[in-house]
Symmetry: none
Subunit: 541 residues, 2 copies
Amino acid sequence: MSTLESDTSFGLELPERVDVFDTTLRDGSQFEGISLSVDDKLRIAEQLDYLGVTWIEGGYPQANPKDSEFFRRAAAGELQLDTSRLLAFGSTRKPLGKTDSDPTLQALLDAGTETLCIVGKGSAWQVREALGTTLEEGRAMAADSVRFLKAAGRRVFFDVEHCFDGYKEDSEFTLSVLESAALAGADCIVLCDTKGGSLPHEVQAITAEIARYLDGVNLGIHTQDDTGCAVANAVAGVLGGATQVQGTINGYGERTGNADLITVIPNLTLKLGIETLPEGRMERLGPVSRHVAELVNLPLNPAAPYVGTSAFAHKAGLHTSALRRAGTTAYEHVDPALVGNHSRVLVSDLGGRTGMSMKADEFGVDLDGRAAGSLNDTLKDLEAQGWVFEAADASLELLMRRAAGWTQPYFRTEAYRVSGYHREGADGDPELATEATLKVWVGDDRIASVGEGNGPVNALDAALRTALAPHYPQLDRIHLTDFKVRVLDGGAATGATTRVLIDSTDGEETWTTIGVSPNVIEASWMALVDSLVFGLNHSAV
Amino acid sequence: MSTLESDTSFGLELPERVDVFDTTLRDGSQFEGISLSVDDKLRIAEQLDYLGVTWIEGGYPQANPKDSEFFRRAAAGELQLDTSRLLAFGSTRKPLGKTDSDPTLQALLDAGTETLCIVGKGSAWQVREALGTTLEEGRAMAADSVRFLKAAGRRVFFDVEHCFDGYKEDSEFTLSVLESAALAGADCIVLCDTKGGSLPHEVQAITAEIARYLDGVNLGIHTQDDTGCAVANAVAGVLGGATQVQGTINGYGERTGNADLITVIPNLTLKLGIETLPEGRMERLGPVSRHVAELVNLPLNPAAPYVGTSAFAHKAGLHTSALRRAGTTAYEHVDPALVGNHSRVLVSDLGGRTGMSMKADEFGVDLDGRAAGSLNDTLKDLEAQGWVFEAADASLELLMRRAAGWTQPYFRTEAYRVSGYHREGADGDPELATEATLKVWVGDDRIASVGEGNGPVNALDAALRTALAPHYPQLDRIHLTDFKVRVLDGGAATGATTRVLIDSTDGEETWTTIGVSPNVIEASWMALVDSLVFGLNHSAV
């Protein structure tokens, strides 16, 4: 399959190379739910270097003491970069202030990076209303600050805040700020869609107009996802003439997020033939996306382009015959291996022998004809009861192994009991207690354990881990990341069947297991057992 | 704040109106993790009508018996549409087959909708490799099928699968398929980016070339998110000349999903001034997005453009002084109220007073100023914990009554205990038992009851009904019709907060109640108690 279609530029002149500027550690950390320690930041920076982005914006040292510490520890040798270069972020001097006594500019110089990025306002309305100063002073703040940092021998990128809105309102002022910064020596002028309200055709047209006006100046593009177009706007900026593209891993960022570099990079390279990462790094997109999601402790979107678990999952239906005839290629826009992902044929809809033997190959399970036949019957029964294996590959793999004669050797359950207690308190808040008792066998060793938790499943999880920990210390690395309950056949209400899905990780791989039962505790137990057995089986290899 | 910027078209000719075509019930249901019952589909269709989309694609009757049942029940009066129109989806006749004996075409006619949509291949490679037939036959399949359905008096939309890839590979063939379908009478030709691999500048250029070639034919645009550009590609299709835009609520769809109509609609209307929904419906985007997410039981992306809880959340940092000086407007690309959302700054929103007093009027609850103020605080606390009252009016009504000084007079809980037991059996099937014991007071009467069930919630429900039945025979008429569990804050996995929603009916009215707790049993108990109290309170009137 060719990944580069013919004539994708539609007559546009494309750059040979675009620099990738990552701001996960600065703009990305503004995402609701993200709160990074200095250690987290160091580990994310290592991932960015492993991926091979050109620039890593490490933080805003003047505004954030943690960021100062990050730069100090990075400079002290705690961050070894092979490919990427680190830079610090700040803003221009204050209105009517002096550059040489400005705390932000001083903090930037103190961060000790060769390259610095400062932000200034590119909109007349913002200068007047948000800064409360004159347009002339707005221009001077930009030019003075760039000149000051250049005089200190640094490479300087200038982020033009509200550039597109400013240009639409009063292009003359916006162009004059850009020109002032360029004349002061800025090494790259970055056009920012700060409110994120622009559409791609606007970004492309305005970037092209600015590129013509500032002929020869390096331009960057920084976009936000408020119209759901951050990625498209980043690409549009490049089509308009930008040669630096700013974004974050997994699109983390303020409000709706920034342009997702995990998508922008293959769009530029695989679709438009523009060089971004060093040779051989593209297939690290999937692993880095997953690893950073772990570090920031947010679930990865399964529908994420290129790297999501669903990105190359084929449920068929309409497409079954085409899939059978032409393979997954017929429905894949790029080869998933190029971006560190792989195809999945969702077994239920393809049904029958073909899909199943494709899955068995994928798992490395050797199914003979008889085992395949009986597995096929089992699957049909289970699916009729509400099991959905397309969402739970790990449980499917275990089921296939069992069909091929395998029995999990790690532990055997004898019994569990869960009890939940609620008593009204005098103050209106009830007293709650949940406890699970468990009896399991590991070999000839019978273990009775107790777990407490804030709910029945949590208590069972605790009891099982307590029982198994002495025998399987590797369970320490395995933890559950998501837990979903779906009630099937809602008509029977509280008597209905429940389906529980559990996502787990050992820090590298992630997997999903399933349990189905009218009893939500039993369904959870099934998914929990499969999660740990799968994790043990894969860590044993 | 102006929502429509000046000169956003950059010289392009924009249509006055674009028809919104929703395929949540067909393409959206292909999303991994979505599995819709016929009841779910009917309720989603009601939401689509409430929003006011032009077209609702209800399903693929030939491929899916559930979809046939959906169309049957819709036609039998179970779906009342005020604004939208329902249509059925299918494919063209088989290669070398006959139209009048084709099961797909027959199932389409049987679905009974005035409008039908059929899909055919627009790529020479796909016709040869995936269908295994000749280009001539590929064209004939399209033309014959359109002609057959038109002859039956239907309005026919023709989805051109792989249109953009096909055009890039062999534009002559693709144009010939489009032309054949148009000459056969198709009322709209929908250009589909089936693999989702295109970028906006390609979609816009190719759509414009096709619009020129098929001068005067209505075009539609159907995009997928495999390059993270589904929304931008939908807009690009409109800029290129399409006047029907296909997508789904919240972007559900195969692999990475379809164009998210919740984003596309305001992009077209608020950004480009193109009419989409009927007057006054735009502010329903937020509520409908949330309601459909509940119905499909998937968490809503907090970073979703326009409607996400983070979409207008200002964490400030860099922007604090601008926010203080110029208000949130300085960082919002549209007024959030226009799309049914609101700003959040630092502490929680000003939200609610107006909305709350409207709700109180609706419920007939008399809230004085002090009660309203304290209710407002309570609501903020509860919402921060994961309570969502939009989806649970009955619990909101009870909360308001309590804020106004009411105490439910029906029963008082003293305590409950639930216990679940699992012991491995000799035959591999475990022995399971669940039991709930309950102590409640009705007036001065203390009642202890036991309930058994196939799960903890079912057992509690049984115990509560056993206790109350002698005093409240009307409980006989009240039963639970649906029970949903959602796990919030997935990062904490089995220790996470759970939200339970229970739908109930007394045969005439239906109502929804909510409970939130880290303990799934306690959350269910809360929703269960509210359900019965609400039922008793309304049956008493």
